[in-house]
């Protein structure tokens, strides 16, 4: 028995160390092709890291495949993991001297990586891109201290999805555009088991069958707070901030509004896990969600459309974010050239990226892209979409996983119904602790 043991173990060991099937190459970052001299780009395989999942991942895979198939000078190996896991891998590889050649990220994350000194701004500069060819907010988002660190890929933001059939049933013809309309419509659309709506007497709030308004109550809940603050003309967050002082009234009013929707007007379910799923199931008449949900609505059986995010306060503003492509500092000039080639191609061909509901930041591609149903509301918001800053501590401050000041604040408001002034004070303290640390 011992002998069989030993043989099996030895076989297993040798098999494992020397095998690894496909995918086991490009460890140390040396080009697999010839490294011949000359001005022309020699054949190179580059590594591209992204953080997409689901339908987005499919589209990006398709784009990479198309690029690889269309020419042989540059071959791209695309790895996609969840964003934070991908970044960990990126940094670990960077430390080990085998950095990926192209890394996707969001604009609010770029500050952190610039501060770590891992991004190459010259490589971006040498692309000689035309600022006029890109959506302005996205373009600005790639800048840190007036130096550009990446190429904008797309823009995402919130808007309002609404169920036209349910609207018709409730006798509402148009989606709400301001606070008064929002509350009135949402109440008419919130029905209890007896068919009474939330504005009628005798409404049974413990037996609600259909809600009028839904939204995520995690970090996206805070994104709405951010939008609502901007709607009051107020944005205390900057790229270079080292401390923040939150206007108590304006910030509290923002929190209060969302809390009221849940606890006062009872038109929003507390702790809603997946508004878009509720919307698809027909149990919520309106939801606030992003354009990335558009591609998943094709199977929906009722009539629906999108509308601009309602203007609750004085100005129009809505939260948005942008994804961008960066080039980490790389000792291999050949790979940098290859990365530049790929990024340029991706940007120019990002019309296909729009098929998953994205809005390409490249204006030419945007023009060429097929408009998905519901996209108009989003593109109409481009003029007043607001991004979170690319502060070097943005990732920590605006983190979507615990412990996170914005997550705690949003959940204290929407799940725990705490006093908005207290929430504001705690948020300010938590953020300043991070900015100071």
């Amino acid at each position: 028995m011992r002998k069989i043991f030993a043989i099996l173990a030895t076989v297993a060991m040798s098999f494992s160390v020397f095998s690894g099937c496909s995918g086991n190459n490009a460890q140390s970052g040396t080009p697999s092709g010839a490294s011949g001299g000359g001005a022309a780009l020699s054949a190179a395989t580059i590594n591209y890291y992204g953080g997409w999942t689901g339908a987005d991942l499919d589209k990006m895979n398709a784009l990479v495949k198309k690029f690889n198939a269309g020419q042989s000078a540059v071959q791209v190996k695309f790895t996609s993991l969840q964003w934070s896991q991908m970044f960990t891998k990126f940094l670990a590889d960077y430390q080990a001297g085998a950095t990926p050649d192209v890394v996707a990220m969001h604009t609010f994350e770029v500050g952190q990586f610039v501060d770590m000194g891992v991004l190459d701004s010259d490589a971006i500069k040498n692309l000689n891109l035309d600022a006029d060819n890109y959506i302005k907010t996205a373009w600005d988002g790639t800048m840190m201290n007036n130096v550009q660190y990446g190429v904008p890929l797309d823009v995402n933001m919130h808007a309002l999805y609404y169920n036209k059939d349910l609207f018709k049933k409730a006798g509402i013809s148009n989606p709400p555009v301001n606070k008064a309309e929002l509350i009135a419509d949402a109440q008419k659309l919130t029905l209890d088991a007896n068919g009474k709506n939330a504005s009628e007497s005798g409404f049974d709030s413990s037996n609600i069958k259909q809600y009028g308004y839904g939204f995520l109550q995690n970090h996206h809940g805070f994104y709405q707070i951010f939008a609502l603050m901007n709607q009051q003309g107020y944005n205390p967050f900057t790229d270079s901030m080292t401390s923040v002082s939150l206007d108590s009234k304006k910030t509290s009013d923002a929190f209060q509004f969302l809390e009221d929707l849940i606890y006062k007007y009872k038109v929003t379910p507390a702790g809603e896990k997946s508004p878009i799923d509720d919307f698809k199931a027909g149990t919520v008449a309106m939801v606030v969600d992003g354009n990335w949900q558009l591609s998943g609505l094709s199977s929906v059986k009722f009539a629906w459309d999108t509308a601009a995010y309602p203007r609750i306060f004085d100005q129009k503003a809505v939260w948005g974010a942008s994804e961008m492509l960066t080039i980490p500092k790389n000792k291999d000039a050949n790979k940098v050239k290859a990365a530049q080639t790929f990024i340029k191609w991706l940007s120019d061909n990002s019309a296909q990226w729009a098929l998953s509901g994205q809005i390409p930041a490249n204006l030419k591609a945007l023009k060429l892209s097929t408009k998905m149903q519901g996209m108009d509301a989003y593109t109409s918001e481009l003029d007043y979409v607001k991004f979170l800053p690319a502060n070097k501590k943005s990732v920590k401050v605006f983190s979507s996983s615990a412990p996170s000041p914005i997550l705690t604040a949003a959940q204290n408001a929407m799940l725990n119904h705490k006093n908005p002034a207290e929430i504001t004070k705690q948020l300010e303290n938590d953020i300043n602790k991070i900015l100071a640390g």
Binding site: Q85, M116, Q217, P269, A402, P403, T408, Q411
Partner: protein, 311 residues
């Protein structure tokens, strides 16, 4: 095979030399090296070395991309005033207190049950251990689905029975308990099997003798079974303790530390600090804290269960 051990099953799991035997004279160092070397080589390279390096990092500041800079005890000083860290300690201990009693008591009872003669008990044993063998991410996804506020099956049955619908994973007072329930469900079978092994190591003659003496089932359990089971119990408690305090995968998949910070355990906070905030040094310091807490807990547990261990 003649069995001259007089202390039943204890020797099997304890480390004490059985009575009446002499220690082997002379060092067996040379042959020991041959036996030990293969494992120790792999162990040192792939576990011990990196662990020591990991502890060293706790005295440094490092963002993974750049180089390490030695900062002495600064990370530990920071832990003293970091409220998130304090919350994580409390969460870890609460989670432990929520999971340990059911995981010991219920599994012991279940093991005693499976120890009885009945048809189909093999099936029962196999079924009990199925949750343990499942991939944690799978467990997380399935329970996440069952815990869904609106469409989850648990709330459906609760409402049907006239109860309120519970916000299992979205209410910060409930979330940790909800995760604890999942962990108890997952590990119950594993502990049961370990207890079963211990129970079956107890000589049947002892039970016969007790029966002849007229002892009740209960008395037998308390006076014979439990004491003889001490080494097994001690091992199960230690393993459960270590597993619970170090639990990561399921929480990561189900709640990721939220809502708020209600499921932010120390290991969860370690991961966030190291791999989302890129504060490798601070994350390592948190790990040292976990290590210290575990050592204290094991020390206390040994004192309480008074198992003779030749350390």
């Amino acid at each position: 095979m003649p069995n001259t051990q007089t202390n039943g099953g204890t020797a099997a799991l304890g480390l004490k030399r059985p009575k009446g035997t002499k220690p082997l004279r002379g060092s067996q160092g040379k042959i020991a090296v041959l036996f030990l070397l293969p494992y120790l080589a792999v162990f040192t390279v792939f576990r011990l070395g990196p662990s020591i390096a990991g502890i060293f990092i706790s005295f440094c500041k490092w963002d993974l991309a750049g180089s390490l800079s030695f900062i002495g005890l600064d990370n530990f000083k920071r832990m003293l005033t970091d409220s998130n860290f304090h919350i994580s300690i409390i969460n870890t201990l609460v989670f432990f207190v929520l999971t340990l009693p059911p995981l010991i008591i219920f599994s012991l009872l279940l093991a005693a049950f499976f120890n009885m003669k009945m048809r189909g008990r093999n099936v029962g044993r196999t079924v009990a251990i199925i949750p343990y063998v499942l991939i944690p991410a799978v467990v997380g996804i399935i329970w996440n689905w069952m815990y869904d506020n609106n469409f989850g099956i648990l709330n459906y049955y609760l409402k049907k029975m006239g109860g309120p619908s519970v916000q299992w994973l979205t209410n910060e007072h409930m979330a940790l308990t909800s995760v604890a329930i999942v962990i108890v469900w997952s590990f119950l079978g594993y502990n049961t099997v370990l207890f079963l092994a211990g129970l079956q190591g107890i000589s049947k003659e002892l039970y016969e003798a007790a029966r002849i003496d007229g002892a009740t089932r209960f008395q037998t359990f308390i006076k014979i079974t439990l004491p003889l089971l001490k080494p097994t119990t001690s091992m199960v408690v230690t393993l459960t303790m270590v597993n619970t305090v170090q639990l990561f995968d399921q929480i990561f998949v189900m709640t990721n530390g939220g809502p708020g910070t209600s499921t932010l355990t120390m290991v969860q906070y370690l991961y966030t600090s190291a791999f989302q905030n890129y504060e490798m040094g601070y994350g390592s310091a948190i790990e040292v804290a976990v290590l210290i807490i575990l050592i204290i807990m094991i020390f206390i547990q040994n004192k309480l269960l008074k198992v003779d261990e030749e350390v």
